[in-house]
C-alpha cells in the first residue's frame, strides 16, 4: 500500500524554538499509524505542522500533493481532518451546529453524514440541541471526532484523544476509532501518550523523543521490544 502521508526531514518551530528536528514519517493508506512519546517530545507539534498551524521546514506530502506551504483551511479542504488537542469544540454552538460546521466543505452530503455520525455516537443524537460546552469531556471527544469525519476525510489526524478522560470512556472511544477505521476507509494518524491501547490498535508506530524519531516499525514489534516496554509501557 502506498503511503497517503509522507513527512521528509520535517522541522517544526514554535516561534524561534525548533521543536522537531528533521523527522521522517509515513502513514500507509488505509492503515493506522501511532506516534508515541513523553510530554514535550514534539508529537503535537508535528501534527500542527502537518495542518499548517505552526512554522515548518521540510516536505509534507499528502496523496501526491505538497502540504507544506498551504493554509490550514486549504489543507482541511484537501481531505485532512484534524481532531486537535483539547477537542476544539465550538462551545457556544449546539452539537448539531458543530457537526454542520464539520460538513462545511461537503455540504451536499451533510444531512446523510450527520445521520451516520449519530449512528456511530448515539449519545450525540440525544444531545443534538445542547450547547457544545455542556457536554462532558468524553462526549466532546466524540463530537470532535464526528465533526472531523463530517469532512469525508482521507486522513484522520487524532491528537491525544484519551487526554483527561476516564479509562472506561477512553476504551469506548478507541473502540469507535477501530470501527471507523474499518467502515469509513480512512487512514488514521494517532498521537497518544496511552501507549498500551494505541499499540493494540495501530499497524505502525513511531517513537518520538525530544524532537527525534528514536524507534519505528510495526506496532507489534514496538510493543514486544523490551526497552520500549520498560520505558513507555511500564513493564
Amino acid at each position: 500500500m502506498a503511503p497517503i502521508l509522507e513527512l521528509h526531514a520535517l522541522k517544526a518551530f514554535y516561534g524561534q524554538s525548533e521543536i522537531v528536528h528533521g523527522i521522517d514519517l509515513s502513514v500507509e493508506e488505509g492503515g493506522m499509524t501511532v506516534v508515541l512519546g513523553a510530554n514535550g517530545a514534539g508529537k503535537t507539534t508535528t501534527l500542527r505542522a502537518i495542518c499548517g498551524m505552526v512554522r515548518s521546514e521540510g516536505e509534507i506530502a499528502f496523496a501526491g500533493k505538497r502540504l507544506d506551504r498551504r493554509a490550514t483551511e486549504d489543507i482541511a479542504a484537501l481531505g485532512v481532518a484534524h481532531v486537535p488537542e483539547g477537542r476544539g469544540t465550538f462551545v457556544g454552538l449546539t452539537v448539531e451546529e458543530n457537526l454542520r460546521l464539520g460538513g462545511y466543505t461537503r455540504l451536499r452530503n451533510a444531512p446523510e453524514n450527520i445521520e451516520r455520525m449519530y449512528g456511530y455516537f448515539p449519545i450525540l443524537a440525544e444531545r443534538r440541541r445542547q450547547q457544545g460546552g455542556a457536554l462532558s469531556g468524553g462526549e466532546q471527544q466524540m463530537l470532535a471526532i464526528a465533526r472531523a469525519l463530517m469532512m469525508e476525510p482521507r486522513l484522520l489526524v487524532l491528537d491525544e484523544p484519551s487526554f483527561g478522560l476516564a479509562p472506561r470512556v477512553v476504551e469506548d472511544i478507541f473502540k469507535i476509532v477501530e470501527r471507523i477505521k474499518k467502515e469509513e476507509r480512512v487512514s488514521v494518524l494517532l498521537v497518544e501518550q496511552n501507549a498500551n491501547l494505541a499499540l493494540e490498535l495501530a499497524d505502525h508506530a513511531y517513537l518520538l523523543e525530544t524532537g527525534y524519531v528514536v524507534a519505528s516499525g510495526s506496532a507489534k514489534a514496538l510493543a514486544d521490544d523490551p526497552q520500549i516496554r520498560r520505558a513507555y509501557l511500564g513493564y
Binding site: E73, A76, P84, L101
Partner: protein
C-alpha cells in the same frame, strides 16, 4: 401620560437607529475583538452616497439598495486592506487605526460634499398616527430596523455562511480546521456591519440632516447602548440601543435639554453598568488559570 407615551415611541425610533449601529459594533467586536470607532463615519459616508444617487434622479428604494451593496463591498474592502495589517498587532494599534479611519472618512466627506447641512428625503411621510402617539416616519424607521434584524437573524441562524461566521468569531482555530476561510468570514462581517450602518444613516438623515458630523452623537449613543446590553451580545445591542434611545428622549424632555443631555444620559447608563459591569446580557469572561 399621552406626552410620556409620545416621547417613548419617538425614543424607540431613535433607539432603532442606535440599536442598528450598536449591532454593527457588536458584530465586529465579536469577530475581531475590536471596537470599530469608524462605524459612524462609514455610515455617514454611505448616506452621502445614497444622497448623491437620489439627487441624480434614482427612486429612493433603488438608491437605498445600491447604497447597501456598495457599503457591503466597501466594508469588506476596508477589513481586507485597512484592518488586516493590524489584526494580529496589539489592540491599541487597531484602535488607533479605526480612529484614523474615522478622521479620514469625516475629512474626505467634508472635502467632497462640503460641510453645508443638507436635506435628506425620507421615504415615509411625516404624519401623526394613533391619536398622535407616533408619526408614520418613526413607525417606518422602526419597521425597517425590525425587518433588517429579522433578516440578519435568519441569516446567522439558518445559512451555512452565517453559521461559519459565528464559528469563525468564536473559535477561529477550530473554524480553520473545518475548512472555513476565517479571513473571508471577517471580511463579510465587516461588510454586513457597513451595510447595517448605511441603513441606520439613511434612516436618521431626514431627522438629523445630512452633514459630515451627523453620526458623531449616534456613534456615542450606540456605543453606550452596545455596552449597556453587553458588548458580546447581539440581543443586548438591540435592547441596549432601544433603552438608550428612550432614555435620551426622556432625559431631554423632562430633565435637561441641550448639551448636558448627553452627559446625563451617559451618567445614567454608567450607573447601570456599576451594578452590571458586563452589561445586561453580557457574560463575564470566565478565565481559567
Amino acid at each position: 401620560m399621552h406626552e410620556l407615551l409620545q416621547q417613548v415611541f419617538s425614543g424607540l425610533a431613535a433607539g432603532s437607529i442606535y440599536a442598528s449601529v450598536a449591532l454593527a459594533l457588536v458584530m465586529i467586536y465579536r469577530s475581531t475583538d475590536l471596537v470599530n470607532f469608524a462605524q459612524g463615519e462609514m455610515a455617514m459616508f454611505s448616506t452621502y452616497i445614497a444622497w448623491t444617487l437620489v439627487n441624480a434622479g434614482l427612486p429612493f428604494w433603488a438608491a437605498f439598495a445600491i447604497t447597501l451593496i456598495v457599503s457591503f463591498l466597501g466594508g469588506m474592502l476596508i477589513e481586507r486592506v485597512v484592518i488586516r495589517p493590524v489584526e494580529n498587532a496589539p489592540v491599541l494599534a487597531a484602535v488607533v487605526v479605526t480612529i484614523g479611519l474615522l478622521l479620514i472618512f469625516n475629512s474626505v466627506a467634508g472635502w467632497i460634499y462640503s460641510y453645508t447641512v443638507q436635506d435628506f428625503p425620507s421615504p415615509f411621510p411625516d404624519r401623526p398616527l394613533f391619536h398622535a402617539l407616533i408619526t408614520t416616519r418613526d413607525l417606518g424607521v422602526i419597521a425597517v430596523t425590525l425587518i433588517m434584524l429579522v433578516l440578519l437573524f435568519l441569516f446567522f441562524r439558518f445559512t451555512s455562511t452565517g453559521l461559519a461566521m459565528r464559528a469563525a468569531a468564536q473559535n477561529p482555530a477550530s473554524a480553520r480546521l473545518c475548512g472555513i476561510r476565517v479571513g473571508r468570514m471577517l471580511a463579510i462581517g465587516w461588510g454586513l456591519a457597513a451595510a447595517i450602518g448605511a441603513t441606520a444613516g439613511i434612516m436618521v438623515a431626514p431627522v438629523l440632516f445630512l452633514d459630515p458630523n451627523m453620526m458623531g452623537g449616534v456613534l456615542l449613543y450606540a456605543f453606550a447602548g452596545a455596552l449597556l446590553g453587553g458588548i458580546t451580545s447581539p440581543v443586548g445591542a438591540v435592547v441596549g440601543g432601544l433603552i438608550v434611545g428612550v432614555t435620551e428622549n426622556l432625559v431631554g424632555t423632562y430633565l435637561i435639554a441641550s448639551q448636558l443631555k448627553l452627559t446625563v444620559a451617559l451618567a445614567l447608563i454608567i450607573l447601570v453598568l456599576v451594578f452590571k459591569p458586563n452589561g445586561l446580557f453580557g457574560t463575564a469572561v470566565v478565565r481559567r488559570v
